[in-house]
Every structure is written in C-alpha cells, then in structure tokens.
C-alpha cells in the first residue's frame, strides 16, 4: 500500500514545476516584445495551441528600430542603491542642506524629520558623503525625468520648427543640470572638497562618469567607436569645470556659467575639428609622399 502512494506523490511533485516551467516559457517569449502594439499581437498568439510564438512574431512584424533593455511593464530602476529607509532620511536631509550644508547635522535633522532617532544616522557608513552621493544620483534621476517631461520639445528652437543636434542637446542638458544646483550653490564647494578626499575619489569619479554618460544618452548620442570614450571624457570635463565656475557665479540665473559652458563646448568642437583637420592633412601629405616616391621608381 505504501509504495503506490509514494509514487503518486512523487509524480505530483515532479509535475508541478514542469507546468510552471511551460507557463513561464510562454510568458517569457512574449514579455521582451514590450511595446504596446506587440503586446496586443501576443494575445492572439497565445490562442495558438503549440509551436513557437517567438518566430511567428518575428516573421509577421518588422522589428522596432530601437528597443530598450527594460520592459515598460516594470518600474524604472532608481538611479541609486539606497534602501527605502535610507532614501527617506536622505530626501528629508536634502531639505536641510541649504542651511546646514552637506554635514552630519543635516543628516541628523533629516532622520528626526522622518521619524528616526539621532543614532539612526548609523545607517550611512560613509556619513555626509552619502548625502553628497544621494544628491548627485537623485539629480541625475531628475534630469532623465525632465527629458521625459519634454525638455527638448519646450525649447524655443524646436518650437520654431528646427531640430536640435546632439551637441545642442548636450549643452542644454549640462545647463539644465547645473541649474539644479542653484539653491545649494553656496554649499557646493564643501561638497567638492568632500568628494576630493582620497577615499571618496573613486565613487566621485564613477558618479561623474554616470552623469556624462546619462547626458550623452539622453542627447541621443549613438557612437560605437573610440569617440564613445572621448565624448564622455569631454562632457565630464566640461561639466566638472563649469561646476567650479558655478560656485563663484553671483549673476542672476547663472548666466555667467551658461556663457562659460558655451565657450567650453565651442572649444571642444574646435579641438575636434582641428584634430580631424590635422589627421586629413597628415593623410594627404603621406599619400603625396608615397606617390612622389613611386614616381621616382621606389618600390613602395
């Protein structure tokens, strides 16, 4: 009696994950095709009894031109890695930054505001530097949100019917990001000092890279050669230097900083043009020299 019973249970245990697996397989093949049109289409395919819905989809619909790696059915990942309670304290602490600066006091007040104790600041092993990092990461998130809200569409030139180049978009984004610093401008030098401490340099640099990469991605840059690196480097350099200018900018609406950014962007394009010019010139001279040599009978 005992044996058959065992067998039945064993089978049941075996069959359940199998069923789950098959159901998973069908949903998996549908989810990555995440744009709305395709989702609608996928409902039709599920009606088909068997077979591979994936190939069917691919054959009947032309693939979309650009697809993101994330499904729109999932919420966006936050731009930072802090937990919920950490985020609560940090966002509350940011409200105290204009008066208290990027200090432990601002953190403590943030903890008190969100119902934590003074001692709960222990949640941040890096102390006030966590506050700086959170400021940077959250502003980066806001920058993306502003583009999604139509930052480019609201621009005068676009309203007038022009289209913006990648370079113009980049400039627009840099200035937009710098203007986010307006209210904490007087505290930013302290933050820069914190970021330049030896133990904080790696994280500061990676955050700067994340920002320049984000700016270029949002501007629609799609370079896939060595210019990927040079573009990010030059945007990072422009942003970092204009940030320093911004801390001493007393003009209303950061107009001086804006002019500074303009000049730097011009400089970098000028340098780029000169480099390509130099490359062309050298290439021309080289080919001339080879041609000259050949005409003299050299075996080149």
């Amino acid at each position: 009696m005992a044996q058959p019973f065992h067998l039945i249970r064993y089978q049941a245990v075996l069959s359940t994950p199998k069923r789950q697996l098959t159901s998973l397989r069908t949903t998996r093949s549908v989810i990555p095709q995440c744009s709305r049109q395709l989702h609608h289409q996928s409902r039709q395919t599920t009606r088909r009894p068997t077979g591979t819905p994936k190939t069917h989809l691919a054959s009947s619909f032309p693939p979309p031109i650009r697809r993101s790696y994330h499904s729109e059915h999932h919420p966006d990942l936050p731009p930072h890695e802090y937990t919920n309670s950490q985020t609560t304290i940090l966002s509350a602490a940011l409200r105290h930054v204009p008066t208290h600066g990027f200090t432990r006091n601002a953190l403590t007040l943030g903890a008190r505001d969100s119902g934590f104790l003074d001692v709960s600041v222990q949640l941040f092993p890096r102390g006030e530097f966590d506050l700086v990092l959170f400021w940077l990461a959250s502003r980066r998130g806001l920058l993306r949100a502003s583009v999604e809200d139509g930052l480019f569409e609201k621009d005068e030139r676009v309203m007038a019917g022009q289209t913006l180049s990648v370079e113009e978009k980049t400039k627009l984004l840099i200035i937009k990001r710098l203007k986010m610093n307006t209210e904490i401008r007087h505290q930013w030098q302290d933050a820069l000092a914190l970021m330049s401490l030896l133990e904080n340099i790696p994280l500061s640099l990676s955050e700067l890279h994340a920002l320049s990469s984000e700016i270029l991605t949002l501007a629609g840059d799609a370079s896939v050669d060595a210019s990927w690196y040079t573009k990010r480097l030059s945007v990072a350099a422009i942003y970092a230097s204009s940030e320093v200018v911004m801390t001493r900018d007393q003009s209303p609406g950061l107009s001086e900083t804006e002019v500074f950014v303009d000049r730097r962007v011009e400089d970098s394009t000028a340098i780029g043009e000169k480099l390509t010019g130099l490359k062309q010139c050298l290439g021309f001279m080289g080919s001339t020299a080879i041609g000259l040599g050949r005409s003299w009978g050299l075996k080149i």
């Binding site: 309670s85 432990r104 006091n105 008190r112 003074d118 001692v119 222990q122």
Partner: protein, 312 residues
C-alpha cells in the same frame, strides 16, 4: 530455482530485520542521570569542549570572576595595547550624544538612552559618556551598564568613582542576563552596545532578539567582537600568537592559564563576519552598507544593525 527462493527468503528476512524496532540504548558505563541529561539538553560550545547549555553560564561566570581584577592589564598585554584604539574607534564611529539641540517638534527626547551590555568594567560606557560630553556637549545622554557577572560590575563601580559621572543619573549599573531583561521595557533604548561580550553568550540569537525588543524603532545595535582574519599569512601569525602566547601571558601575569585558554578557544568558535551579519539580519535589523567593519585585518570586527520603523 531453489537458490533463488532461498535468496528471496533471505532478502525478505533481511528486510524484516530492519523493521524490527531497535533495542533501547543501554549504557552500562554511565549513570541513568547523566544519560537523561545528555538526552534532554542542548549542548553548546565552551571553548573547544561541548557543555550542556545550563552549565555554560556558570562556567563563563567563573572565568570572568577570576579575571575581573586583572582584566585591563591582561587586555593590554594580549593585544599590545591595540584594544584601546579599537574601543576609541568604536565610540568615535558611533558618535554618541546629540550635537544639535532638540527642537520642539522632535519626539526623540533629550540625550540618548544607551545600554552597554557585558560592559562590567565600564570601558565603553565611560568613553561614550566622555564623547557625548566633550565632543557633542550633550549633558543628557545616559548609560546603563549591564553585566551578568557581579565581580565585573563591582570592578566597574570601583572605577566609576574616578569619573565625573559617579553617583549621577547619567550612569547606572544593573546585573542582567542579556538573553532576558524583563527590567527593561520595550522600545526604550537608543543605542545597544556589546563589546567583546556576545562571544560568551549561551544563546546569541536570543540575545539579538532581546536587543531588538528593547531598542526604539530607529535604534542601533552595535557590537565589537573578535572575528576571522582574512589574510592567510597574517592569520597564521595571529593564531600562533593567540594559542601559544596568550595562555602563557595569562599564566605569568594573572596566574590563571585555564581562563585565557578558554578566551582564545571561544574566539576561534565565534562565527565569521558574514555568518554573524546573517544572525543580526535574522533578528530583524536593517544592515547598513556591508554590515561590518574589520579592524586590524579582521582580528576584531564592528557589526551594526538598525531597528526599522514599524510599517505605516
């Protein structure tokens, strides 16, 4: 045919023999009482030997009663004075005391309520009070020193006479078992510290649960304990030192080899950084960042956990 049937019957017998209930275990060399004890009671570590849980407490008690008077001298000899640096760093990183005056809207109250477990001699407690007073100018923060061992507490009381906190409301002593502290109400403590003590607890998980109970939401559990050295070469040197030099120093300075043998063995038995972090997490605490900080290559480690706010 014949041989097959014989084999089958043999196999049948063999199977049946298994199903016959085993004769109850009979030990003729030990007494009935010892047998009953070992069956009903859970065992725990006492250094490298296994002892029943009920006995560990008194055995640890005996060790610390015998080392109480020479505790600080011995620590200096064993760690070459480094334990003072660790303790200073521990207190500095916790930054006890409120530097900001509390506002009217704050519900946190004035000063911190600190519970220092296994802090009999007051090492950590006096440091924390000094830090709160001198660095943060907070004259409200108070510390309760709890220890299971009256000899260690007496040592702390004797030392507290030298400090400005003697006979004030900022310092109090309490004899208690960290696994069960009925005298301390729920949600009443800001900061719970246990420094070089949790290793000796009989049931560490129960102590962590109790810490979770007494802490206010947002309160911090901070623990400094000997841990596992990460570098293999350094580990070899360290093990050589702890297993041969420390019991010897104990014999020469304190005249008590056994107690110090227990100390090094209990260090060896303590879980690694990651395991202990898992235990803190299991008790319900939030872990900030990596959850631990190694000191001197991992000889000691500082663990922290934060009690989360109740879900709204």
């Amino acid at each position: 045919m014949l041989s097959r049937s014989v084999r089958r019957s043999l196999g049948y017998h063999a199977r049946r023999r298994v199903s016959i209930p085993e004769a109850p275990y009979r030990c003729f060399s030990c007494t009935r009482r010892a047998q009953a004890e070992s069956k009903n009671e859970r065992m725990t570590h006492f250094g490298f030997t296994n002892v029943p849980e009920s006995q560990k407490e008194s055995m640890v008690g005996a060790v610390f009663s015998s080392v109480a008077s020479s505790y600080d001298t011995m620590n200096d000899f064993m760690s070459l004075g480094i334990h003072r640096l660790w303790k200073d760093h521990f207190v500095r990183s916790l930054n006890p005391g409120s530097a900001l005056p509390s506002r009217e809207t704050d519900t946190t109250g004035k000063g911190w309520n600190i519970l220092d477990i296994a802090g009999g001699t007051g090492d950590i407690a006096f440091r924390m009070l000094d830090h709160a007073t001198n660095i943060n100018h907070d004259h409200e923060t108070r510390v309760t020193i709890a220890d299971i061992n009256p000899d260690m507490l007496a040592e702390g009381q004797k030392r507290s006479i030298q400090t400005p906190y003697y006979n004030t409301s900022r310092l109090s002593f309490m004899q208690a078992n960290a696994q069960q502290m009925p005298d301390i109400p729920d949600n009443s403590i800001d900061l719970y510290t246990v420094v070089f003590g949790i290793r000796n607890f009989t049931d560490k998980q129960a102590a962590l649960q109790e810490a979770f109970r007494v802490l206010k939401p947002g309160g911090v559990f901070a623990c400094m304990e000997f841990s596992k050295v990460e570098n293999d070469v350094f580990n070899a040197v360290y093990k050589q030192w702890s297993f041969s030099a420390i019991p010897l120093i104990g014999q020469l300075v304190a005249g008590d080899r056994e107690s110090y043998q227990y100390l090094v063995e209990s260090i060896e038995q303590f879980p690694s950084q990651e395991e202990f972090r898992g235990m803190i997490q299991k008790a319900g605490f939030l872990i900030p960042g990596r959850g631990f900080e190694n000191l001197t290559g991992g000889i000691a480690a500082i663990h922290k956990g934060i009690k989360p706010l109740p879900p709204v």
